[in-house]
């Protein structure tokens, strides 16, 4: 019944089946909105955050999804600035992921702050010394950029492009795509970095505090690098997931390989720099502030295993896998490595957010633990459901994967002539 909205030449499941797919996500969204509503109406006492854990699940998830959503800017950078044509196959999907990640993070933040109606104070009374001001400005601008980049995807919908004004508009907009990509990269560089800077400047938290370059602590650069490394991995992961769920071929293997290779390269560089940074921190920065580093890992359950897992297991290992062409060629290895890389970055954000607050600073502090309340989990599930729903609708009604039509024809040809086998 919604055939005319679906892109010509590709097949999508029936309306009924689609409804079945989105129903559980809608239910999750409703539950999540209820949780968020509770927090907004009754106050943040609905969460398990407290004066010691001022940041909790939401901040950790915001940071993680923003890092994962970095695929949007980075793929754009690679495609439009560095002219890596293979990535044209995934750019639209990356933009949708970016829109979903950033807008979802903003919504979660709106619930996280105590006075959401005062959001405009940061714009009106900005503190030029604060990393968070920078983050706010940058992310707001970048979300705008993302929306502008998303618009053409929407306007290219089969029905919408019948409207001549839309066609002209998105065509003109496309001329600006290099500008948008450049601006997006610039903004992302800064806000990804400032998110790292949020923790690196905390002089009162020697666990998080880092020395750096001029006003930027090392975490500024490490966050950018890790986001750039994991962005392509996440795009790869989602593409594979969508292919699996929709049972279609959506991209050529070259695109996936390229994403994997770039991710692996950046990840390797990141692991190297992170190792150096960690060694400097353990041996100089933290002891210089009166905090020997060993004591951070003496508080159960945060042992040195967490450091090892973050850097070696979920950092170096996937990097090596992604840099090995033979392994990269195998889907299983490729996707697993991408997933490991994403988990590694999530772990890094977790360590920066939760472990920073859990380790004591005063000699008579207790070590405390924090478990999110169901309202917090529910709100996060709302973001997740929102993301899946937006992506699902985008996948169904917009052309997210330009190579899909060609690949469909190729598959059809193969089916007609089974002798001509071409698989990756």
């Amino acid at each position: 019944m919604d055939r005319e909205f679906i892109t010509r030449g590709v097949k999508r499941c029936s309306g009924g089946k689609f409804l079945l797919w989105i129903l559980p996500w809608v239910a999750m969204l409703i539950f999540g909105l209820y949780s968020a509503g509770l927090c907004l109406v009754k106050g943040l006492n609905q969460t398990n955050m407290d004066n010691r854990f001022a940041f909790g699940l939401w901040i950790f998830l915001d940071l993680t999804v923003i890092a994962l959503g970095a695929g949007a800017f980075f793929t754009g950078f690679l495609l439009y600035i560095l002219k890596m044509k293979e990535l044209r196959a995934v750019i639209n999907s990356a933009v949708v992921i970016g829109v979903v990640c950033y807008s979802g993070a903003m919504c979660a933040l709106a619930v996280d702050v105590g006075q959401p109606l005062r959001f405009w104070f940061t714009f009106w009374y900005p503190n030029v010394h604060s990393m968070l001001t920078e983050v706010t400005f940058c992310i707001t601008c970048y979300l705008t950029v993302l929306m502008i980049e998303y618009l053409p995807i929407v306007l290219k919908n089969r029905k919408l492009r019948d409207v001549p004004e839309f066609l002209v508009f998105q065509h003109e907009l496309h001329k600006l795509i290099y500008v948008l990509a450049g601006v997006g990269t610039f903004l992302s560089f800064f806000h990804q970095g400032s998110l790292g800077g949020l923790y690196g400047v905390l002089r009162g938290r020697p666990f998080a505090f880092r020395e750096g370059l001029a006003i930027w602590p090392s975490t500024f650069f490490l966050f950018i690098l890790s986001a750039a490394a994991v962005g392509p991995s996440f795009v790869l992961l989602t593409t594979w997931l969508v292919e699996k769920i929709s049972k279609k071929r959506l991209v050529r293997p070259e695109a996936m390989q390229m994403l994997g290779r770039i991710s692996g390269l950046l990840l390797a560089v990141y692991v190297l720099l992170k190792t150096i940074d960690t060694l400097v921190w353990i041996n100089r920065t933290s002891p210089g502030n009166g905090f020997p580093a060993a004591q951070y890992y003496a508080w159960h359950p945060f042992g040195t295993w967490i450091l090892f897992t973050e850097i070696a297991l979920l950092g170096m290992v996937p990097a090596l896998i992604l840099l090995t062409p033979k392994l990269r060629a195998r889907t299983g290895w490729l996707v697993s490595a991408a997933a490991m890389a994403c988990c590694g970055v999530a772990l890094n954000r977790f360590v920066q957010t939760v472990q920073t607050l859990a380790v004591p600073t005063l000699s008579f502090d207790k070590f405390m633990t924090y478990t999110p309340s169901w309202q917090e989990v529910g709100t996060f599930l709302a973001v997740l459901a929102y993301g899946v729903l937006v992506y699902s609708f985008s996948f169904r009604y917009f052309q997210l994967f330009p190579d899909e039509r060609e690949l469909k024809l190729e598959v059809a040809q193969v089916e007609e002539e089974p002798a001509l086998v071409g698989r990756y």
């Binding site: 006075q115 109606l117 005062r118 104070f121 009106w124």
Partner: protein, 602 residues
């Protein structure tokens, strides 16, 4: 000229652009933030003229001088009065929040005085031989206390009951002490008059003998961690060194420590021995050390009119035969000592005794009384405050009201006097007049910080000053030559022997009060772990395990007097075999001095 739509739009656009160059829109934007600053439901403090008023705190016998900062007559904060000779300007956490008590959510606002009066009349008429009418006064020594005593003298079978006086009514002269041995007494945490104790602190060496490192033990010059329940043995050995070996066994100290301590007490005198609950052995030790006349002195009663001398004597509850009280008035209109209800209940007749409690809430004896009549709450009430235990001279202070009590509050003196067919009169003023007639002592007025000999003050001025914040201090008391008999008389404070039924010894970790405390005190036990909430107990995890309540947050405390629900806090610093409790009315009902208890699962 034609005015087109375009012109209008241009004008409006230009106007808007121009307005942006004026402060107006920017101010509007900033002012819009104001609506986000205060939601309905956030109270706006009332404004008004700021004045200072003075009174005395009625929450404990220290009766610290209080300066209230009042806004349009309403006290909004309390502070001490610097230079005050008795309290040295130092109120405690209870006193600092006293002005919030009238608004306590559990504050009683309604009662049935007519019904209660009728029931009392009926029961008094029914009194048979051997049956009595009694008043239980938890804060004896006040002018109201004398009214009760006179009322009970006026009634044929009237009895006046009060808790046993600490140290038998003697007073402590801390300024004279050079060595103080405290057997678990919370010297630095609510004992006596806090300001006076801290002012005298530099003059004496404090040795705290206590199983648990209490606040006093943490700041004492020396902490002797003795085993629970061994205070009496230690005191005995300090008096009679021959018992040192068995005392060493009981306390866990070495013989040398005990003998050194005994030497110190005699060599570095004048010495003073305090115990948490008037241990006879501690009193005997004081006598042996020659404390009488030095650190322990007789304090004459604050003068009363001669007409009052015909009053019923003060008796303890234990002295009354069981099942003999038909009508009982309990005055808890001012915080005082708490007597476990079970000790009181057995003195009541079996058939329909009438118990009338005068209280601030239903939480105290109101749980057991037929009638609980609401009274004015500090700082609404008018009462005099008996001298504190560490005031060697007699003192007279009035807690004058800072705010008016609500309507329909009962005045216990008036009620009881009426029931006894007596006119209560204006007891406070009569007493003030009697004091003035004695011509002794000095009046310290808070507003101007002046000390004036009483003989230089006229009676009207005296009464006026007392009601505006002042204290009268008697001239130095003349000590009696010999150790008075009443200090040797048996008390109810024999330590309970250890038993398998009740293996744990109860000690009080926090100042004891059964009275209402301000909701803001939750800062100390709910918003932080500094103090324990009322009706909670701290115990060693091994004790918890042995009692079968490991890991539980709530349990049941049981003593020979009854049981009640308590919160439980595991604390490794509490010695095994001990319970450190924070009292509330329920706990005080079942825990007296040196009580043995057990803890069972809820």
């Amino acid at each position: 000229m034609q005015r087109t739509r375009r012109d209008i739009l241009l004008f409006m656009g230009g106007g808007a652009a121009g307005a942006m160059l004026t402060p107006a829109p920017w101010r509007l934007v900033t002012d819009a933030a104001i609506w986000s600053e205060n939601w309905p439901g956030i109270p706006r403090p009332a404004r008004g003229e700021i004045t200072a008023r003075y009174t005395n705190c009625a929450l404990c016998p220290a009766g610290c001088a209080v300066r209230a900062r009042c806004v349009a007559g309403q006290p909004v904060s309390l502070a001490g009065v610097a230079g005050n000779p008795l309290s040295q300007g130092a109120p405690c956490a209870f006193g600092l929040t006293g002005h919030q008590l009238p608004y306590h959510p559990q504050r009683l606002k309604q009662g049935t005085p007519e019904e209660a009066a009728a029931a009392v009349r009926g029961a008094m008429a029914k009194c048979g031989p051997g049956e009595s009418v009694a008043v239980l006064d938890l804060a004896p020594g006040r002018a109201s206390s004398w009214t009760y005593r006179r009322a009970m003298a006026a009634v044929a079978n009237g009895v006046y009951l009060a808790p046993p006086r600490p140290l038998g009514g003697a007073a402590v002269n801390l300024a004279k002490a050079r060595t103080v041995l405290s057997l678990g007494a919370p010297v630095l945490d609510g004992w006596g008059t806090p300001g006076n104790v801290h002012a005298a602190r530099a003059n004496f060496r404090l040795i705290q003998a206590e199983p648990w490192e209490s606040r006093t033990a943490a700041l004492a010059d020396e902490w002797l961690p003795i085993r629970p329940g061994s205070e009496a043995a230690l005191a005995l050995a300090l008096k009679d060194p021959k018992t040192a070996p068995s005392a060493a066994q009981a306390t866990g100290l070495t013989e040398k420590q005990i003998l050194d301590l005994a030497n110190e007490l005699t060599a570095s005198g004048p010495a003073l021995v305090l115990s948490a609950d008037d241990l006879p052995e501690a009193l005997a030790l004081n006598q042996a050390l020659g404390a009488w006349g030095q650190t322990l002195v007789a304090r004459p009663e604050v003068p009363v009119p001669d007409a009052w001398k015909k009053a019923a004597p003060e008796r303890v509850v234990a002295s009354v035969p069981d099942s003999s009280i038909r009508v009982l008035f309990i005055d808890e209109s001012v915080p005082g000592s708490h007597i476990p209800w079970s000790a009181v209940e057995k003195k009541l007749v079996r058939d329909n005794p009438v118990v009338v409690a005068f209280a601030w809430s239903l939480e105290g004896y109101g749980r057991h009384a037929q009638f609980t009549l609401p009274t004015a709450v500090y700082p609404e009430l008018t009462s005099d405050i008996p001298p504190a235990i560490d005031s060697p001279a007699a003192t007279f202070r009035i807690s004058a009201p800072l705010v008016a009590p609500p309507a329909r509050m009962t005045d216990p003196s008036a009620f009881i006097a009426k029931a006894a067919g007596m006119d209560a009169g204006n007891a406070l003023q009569e007493r003030a007049d009697a004091i003035h007639k004695s011509g002794r002592g000095t009046l310290f007025t808070y507003a101007d910080g002046k000390s004036t000999p009483l003989k230089d003050i006229k009676p009207d001025a005296f009464w006026k000053s007392l009601n505006e914040g002042a204290c009268w201090v008697d001239d130095a008391a003349v000590g009696r030559a010999s150790w008075p008999a009443f200090l040797s008389s048996p008390h109810d404070t024999q330590a309970e022997p250890q038993s398998t039924a009740f293996p744990l010894l109860v000690a009080f970790a926090e100042p004891r009060t059964a009275s209402l405390t301000s909701p803001l005190m939750s800062k100390l036990y709910q918003d932080s772990d500094l103090r324990m909430a009322p009706n909670t107990a701290a115990l060693h995890p091994d004790t918890a395990r042995a009692s079968g309540i490991a890991g539980a947050a709530r349990a049941v405390l049981e003593t020979q007097y009854g049981r009640c629900a308590i919160g439980v806090i595991p604390d490794e610093s509490v010695p095994p075999g001990m319970l450190e409790v924070a009292a509330g009315p329920e706990v005080l009902d079942i825990c007296g001095a040196f009580t043995r208890a057990k803890v069972v699962a809820a």
